[in-house]
Symmetry: D3
Amino acid sequence: MFLPLLFTISLLFSSSAHASLLDFCVADPSLPDGPSGYSCKNPAQVTVDDFVYHALSIPTNTSNLLKFGVTAAFAPQFPGVNGLGISIARADLGVGGVVPLHTHPGASELIYLAEGTIVGGFISGSANTVYYKTLHKGDVMVFPQGVMHFQFNTGETPATVIASFGSANPGVQVTAFALFGNNLPSSFVEKITFLDEAEVRKLKGVFGGTG
Amino acid sequence: MFLPLLFTISLLFSSSAHASLLDFCVADPSLPDGPSGYSCKNPAQVTVDDFVYHALSIPTNTSNLLKFGVTAAFAPQFPGVNGLGISIARADLGVGGVVPLHTHPGASELIYLAEGTIVGGFISGSANTVYYKTLHKGDVMVFPQGVMHFQFNTGETPATVIASFGSANPGVQVTAFALFGNNLPSSFVEKITFLDEAEVRKLKGVFGGTG
Amino acid sequence: MFLPLLFTISLLFSSSAHASLLDFCVADPSLPDGPSGYSCKNPAQVTVDDFVYHALSIPTNTSNLLKFGVTAAFAPQFPGVNGLGISIARADLGVGGVVPLHTHPGASELIYLAEGTIVGGFISGSANTVYYKTLHKGDVMVFPQGVMHFQFNTGETPATVIASFGSANPGVQVTAFALFGNNLPSSFVEKITFLDEAEVRKLKGVFGGTG
Amino acid sequence: MFLPLLFTISLLFSSSAHASLLDFCVADPSLPDGPSGYSCKNPAQVTVDDFVYHALSIPTNTSNLLKFGVTAAFAPQFPGVNGLGISIARADLGVGGVVPLHTHPGASELIYLAEGTIVGGFISGSANTVYYKTLHKGDVMVFPQGVMHFQFNTGETPATVIASFGSANPGVQVTAFALFGNNLPSSFVEKITFLDEAEVRKLKGVFGGTG
Amino acid sequence: MFLPLLFTISLLFSSSAHASLLDFCVADPSLPDGPSGYSCKNPAQVTVDDFVYHALSIPTNTSNLLKFGVTAAFAPQFPGVNGLGISIARADLGVGGVVPLHTHPGASELIYLAEGTIVGGFISGSANTVYYKTLHKGDVMVFPQGVMHFQFNTGETPATVIASFGSANPGVQVTAFALFGNNLPSSFVEKITFLDEAEVRKLKGVFGGTG
Amino acid sequence: MFLPLLFTISLLFSSSAHASLLDFCVADPSLPDGPSGYSCKNPAQVTVDDFVYHALSIPTNTSNLLKFGVTAAFAPQFPGVNGLGISIARADLGVGGVVPLHTHPGASELIYLAEGTIVGGFISGSANTVYYKTLHKGDVMVFPQGVMHFQFNTGETPATVIASFGSANPGVQVTAFALFGNNLPSSFVEKITFLDEAEVRKLKGVFGGTG
């Protein structure tokens, strides 16, 4: 019968806890993390629920000045993607809503417009060229790694964007928050951005920055 | 004024055709391709339309035995993703429709269930363990690189899946097509899969295989 | 003399335990593992035996229905390859023996036929094209990452295959075991592979699957 | 003698033009480029001058409003680094000079302060935390990939910065130029950055932007 | 029937020449090469013979002073491995034969001793520690990327080594040839190696070096 | 106000200790290290001083036979570069000083000559070709990964070299130390390098080797 063979195979490729490396490495945030991601959860304790994420089914709250909400399924939120080089997020834009200018330092991004009509765009770094276009339901647009991009709702109904990323932890740097939402001294901001003092002070106030 | 500076910067980082490497490398299929993807289109001829893809907005035809249709936006179809390590596809499943068992040799996959109710699952290689779950609208599931996975519609309405990948060219290997849809001799198929001769011959007939 | 220089060099590049990163990272399975492999063993405790593996010198037992045996030297078995992106295995095929259809989700493979005469082949995913050939002693064949491949002994003597991989943990997914050797429900298997119920039930029985 | 051996070795590892891959791949901008860089120059025509770059020895012109000049030795300027994953640049800052806020989408950066006294800093994306410090001659600072960073001269003499990068083509995106130096419509800029209309119009004028 | 489905699938994933990226990228040395390898051969012209290599079945000539011969199956010789990150070679050592000290700048190496008895060893860079051991038929040893390693036959019969590499083009730098087999001036060699003039001149003579 | 939005954003992308992956992964040598580097320091304890390194501002001691001193800022010394793929070092060469022949197994190198006049050179592996040139203050030269390279002061004043690397831990293997500064038996050294016994014994004595 096959039993001797099966026994051989199972010995070689068995997955007793931490005895072998598997196809996946579900994040265990209680262990140290490193440059390539989180340490792996004991595979004996991995279940299908580590590979499924429900929160993207829930519309985010857009009752704010930007009329924008976001739910991320990156490795810290969705342990199953750890080490696999991909992740996903949902963004909702109310009528007139805006995804402010931002970058993902560690990943390129693909957006799929699930609902609504938006303008999506990015600014190419080297050439300082802008690429933007009105997108309709079902359209896809790609934003290269690390460059500034944005979206805003130009339709008369809410919009929903599904964004996928080429990293389990793409990071995010929102330009306005980076400039005005921390303790970078106002005099520095003026010097390195050419904005005038009044503008910087006003936006520091809006975004809760100090200095 | 800034002009001298701007002149300096523009000289250094300018994007005259093929004079510099940019943030992106839009595929030019008329040039040679290599292990890392297609050669880059002359950036002077790149437009926003290289970064936008419309075909995912169109439901695919599910009038076939599988009640399944798919539209891919990989590098060959969507030149803007070339070199960026991501791509996307849309799959439609009619009522009772099936995405047959398959692998992507070159990428992990994240599915977002845009409409309907399906079962999604994968078979982990090393441990030979199965992970599957019923997914509802808005749920996300991840399939690790290279392992067999599948989906089928268990709801009473059509389902639409948006699948994103951690490669601009994830590849695909459908198990049944690989076994029965080519000229791999039937005697080989039987020997390496343990299927019996009648079954192999029947499915060779269904999938158009020879030998 | 050189002593001052040697002292300087040794301070800079010394390898006191965990004080510096070395050329190698021998696996320590008692520490957490991550997406890039196992944690590194304290280099002070590394010996040449971490870099040498003897078990491939021993013919494997082929007294089973497949007339096939395998010994792997992947990172879990051979800690010296951890982090180095390579590994190796030995397969023996008795007369008529078969290496069943399988994939390695994480690595390309090169086989060197040390003894005997076999057919080696793979099925290219995208094009669904089959490449196979009779190999004689000393021949080499390459199987691209993630695609289905197989070997079987067509000679009148046992065959021995030395297989090397482009990963310290290539993983393995044997098609028949994935389909019939676990608790994937029979009805799922039929739906996603097009095999008929009788065949699935029979092979579930052979491979010990349930459901 | 060694001649038979030398003949064997030279046949195997010889470098006739395009007959073998070498340790290096000097850029040939007349051939197509791809995601991993430029095509390789015929090795028979490679000379030591492909691996040496002189222009960093020349102080750059800082007679501009920013009192800032830069000379880059990226793959387009310095073909020897093509494919090697590193590059270098020189920046000069007159008294009061500023390297405006910018990112490198494709590389982390290390600066070595060859002359002068500057403040160097970066804004971490995820945590929106600012790290900055006064640097003196000989100090080194690292800026992680893709995050906003800046420098300005706080000393009473000119400063010279040698910046090295973990990519042969790190790219650059200067925040102010991205916002104000192209045809991104003013109304878009306001919406995605929260800057007011007067400020945007003023800086569009300064940086030559339109729209 | 399946025909509509098959038609859809075949359109999406078809492999008309240069219309899609495949699982493999067989080297076409007549096209430009780049940092990631050779350009891909038109897949319509790829045959199984691109994936099979025969020359390792032939013992190499060891009738030289080193009693050493080698046959490499790297990407320039074996186009099927291009882009797959693996390659293989065969080395023969007559009685008393020596594989001289060398490095592979671009790959780690695994040796499988197919015949004979040898000493295999490497010198770890950072720690300047030597790891060596007598190997018998069937033993495996790993040499980390870029470090000096060697083998010599200590048995009473010829030895055959099968060496696999984690790169399609690992490169090779034989220490003695690098020092004495080119036009590096003798005075340089003495200065940077501490060897005395007589020794350098003698070995320049042996290895055909000039200067 | 923005507060609801800010609250949302801060929840998603917040950096509570070990709760999320950041732009950086400052080395914590008290935790396990792995193939991709050290584990990450708790981000709450990271300060700007983790990203700044002062020791390169201090001339190294060149009062030794080689008239050569070096200070490295690799991951073990400079925790901020961990995981970022770059590092840096300073080398000083007195008049007549020499950087002996060596390799970096894990990185390509770029040198910037901050002071003095030197000859810099490398020996290409595959082609066994030497590339060297006299460099003057401000010149840059690149050495491909893993190949032997060297520098020596040919001027009448001390020279200072700033070397940057495409790895946070490039490693180093000094040829003479590897041959003569450890316990590799003299008979082995002779056999694998072709040096004669007297020379090996003499240099073993100089470099403190045994055996």
